[in-house]
């Protein structure tokens, strides 16, 4: 089975001086899997993400991509943050190109991917706009499109729809599922919102309070598009809520 694992995390542990943030976390991610990570507020989700992106190095433990220790110079890791991170001085079109140009992809390949992504997002009319001319949600869609267009080995999203209302969130969640299915990307999606996790994930990793360990892995085997009022959906949402509820 290990052959199909895209990412292997082994005994990941992080201390900041005396502060123990992450404790011996091990799990695998299948190629093309959509994995959601939830946990109580302040449990160390962001540290966890920063370890996966190699922004921080772990105190102990290792992260393997395709069986090799993860290396930002070799592997392609994309991150989408909660705060919109489009380059303000670049148009939508140039923002989408940015990462691919840095990676020196062939010109024709870049064109092909850009056309495909703009089409998938339905953003033709925004191509020549600058980020400040867009709504926050459209700016975020550009960033998500840019991340998928990179065809990364691992795409990490840190609460990208944090402050959006339900209607918008459902729309964007359907869009991210559409992109994921189309592109076959391996995704780790971090969220505080349990309904969102159950709506998106094939598998949910529930973290404990700090120092974060894995409390439980929950497989979500519901057909898509999912119905948030389906009793099965509510059952899973309830179960996950009980595991982390502090409020």
């Amino acid at each position: 089975m290990s052959g199909e694992h895209k990412v292997k995390v082994e005994n990941l542990t992080k201390y900041f001086d005396d502060l123990h943030v992450l404790d011996d976390v091990s799990f695998n991610i299948r190629k093309g899997e959509f994995l959601c990570v939830v946990g109580p507020t302040g449990c160390g989700k962001t540290t966890f993400l920063n370890l996966l992106t190699r922004i921080y190095m772990p105190t102990r433990g290792q992260l393997y991509i395709d069986g090799e220790p993860a290396d930002p110079k070799k592997h392609n890791l994309s991150v989408v943050f909660q705060e919109p991170s489009a380059m303000p001085w670049l148009t939508v079109d140039k923002n989408l190109r940015f990462g691919m140009e840095i990676k020196n992809l062939p010109k024709e390949e870049i064109e092909r991917r850009i056309e495909n992504m703009i089409g998938l997002l339905g953003l033709e009319q925004f191509r020549e706009r600058y980020p400040h001319q867009l709504s926050a949600s459209t700016a975020q869609r550009i960033i998500i499109g840019r991340a998928f267009a990179m065809q990364p080995d691992l795409l990490l999203m840190d609460e990208p729809y944090g402050q959006m209302d339900i209607k918008l969130r459902f729309y964007l969640e359907d869009e991210v599922i559409r992109l994921w299915k189309e592109m076959g990307t391996t995704v780790v999606f971090i969220t505080h919102n349990i309904e969102e996790a159950v709506y998106l994930a094939e598998r949910i990793l529930i973290l404990t309070n700090k120092p974060a360990r894995i409390r439980e892995e929950v497989t979500v085997d519901l057909p898509r598009p999912r119905d948030v009022s389906d009793p099965e959906f509510i059952k899973i949402r309830n179960h996950v809520t009980e595991q982390i509820k502090w409020w």
Binding site: I166, K167, I194, W246
Partner: protein, 255 residues
């Protein structure tokens, strides 16, 4: 209508617009609305729908241009001590402690130090920040800062409290915690609350009635009476989800 439902605030034909780059941009269009005494009214609208402009007009922060506002039947103009506000962004003064922030309105009202302390302490206790009186805003978490904002608004003892998306910047779980807090405080210190949000789940959780606004310019699209839903509410209850879906389907998508 039962006796308890007395109208405290009436808006009649409120419209508001701005001039943006030599064009007139309407933000609020012909809003008429009655707010009842001691009710928890939620004003729900998509992002940038003109909700904040409407609230600023009610609070007198924005000049009333078109329409009329009545407080207990009396027409009012400009700001009024009976209407308090909790802001979207925190608006705490970073150089003042929690105590001094909560005392601010009382200071402006000319109360002496002893009275100020007494009233401020009561409201710091009310929002459960006892022990943090001498902390500065940067030492507090997002939820705690918002508690200070709520204490400050209550300390001024307004009849009507406007809360303009107070939890917009909080994570989903802290938001749930604060929603429970705001209901607890509302029960302890009965007041008319006008709570503004773009979050349908939050609206259904909190409201006696929901006023649904359209996309910009804000018009009243529909008013939902949720008194049949009972309290405390469960966000995973089928009836709760049904109402949430119904409102969501009636809401404009603001991409």
């Amino acid at each position: 209508m039962d006796k308890k439902k007395q109208v405290i605030l009436s808006l009649r034909n409120i419209s508001h617009s701005f001039i943006v780059k030599n064009e007139v941009k309407a933000a609020v269009s012909d809003v008429s609305l009655d707010v009842y005494d001691n009710e928890f009214l939620v004003v729900l609208g998509p992002g940038h729908s003109g909700k904040t402009v409407l609230m600023n007009v009610i609070a007198g922060i924005e000049k009333l241009v078109e329409g009329k506002i009545y407080l207990r039947g009396e027409e009012i103009h400009g700001s009024n001590r009976s209407i308090g506000m909790v802001f979207q962004s925190l608006n705490l003064m970073p150089w003042r402690t929690v105590m001094q922030n909560v005392e601010f309105g009382l200071e402006l009202a000319g109360l002496d130090k002893k009275q100020r302390r007494l009233i401020a302490q009561k409201h710091i206790d009310l929002v459960r920040l006892s022990g943090f009186e001498s902390a500065y805003p940067h030492e507090l978490s997002g939820g705690m800062k918002q508690r200070v904002g709520i204490a400050r608004a209550y300390a001024n003892n307004p009849e009507i409290l406007i809360m303009d998306e107070p939890f917009g910047a909080l994570d989903a779980q802290t938001r749930y915690a604060m929603e429970e807090e705001v209901l607890r405080i509302w029960k302890e210190e009965k007041r008319t609350v006008i709570f503004v949000t773009n979050n349908i789940e939050e609206a259904v959780y909190l409201a006696d009635r929901i006023v649904l606004l359209s996309n910009c310019p804000a018009r009243v699209k529909h008013i939902y009476d949720l008194s049949s839903l009972g309290r405390p509410r469960n966000m995973m209850d089928p009836e709760f989800l049904r109402i949430r879906t119904e409102i969501s389907q009636n809401t404009d998508l603001a991409l």
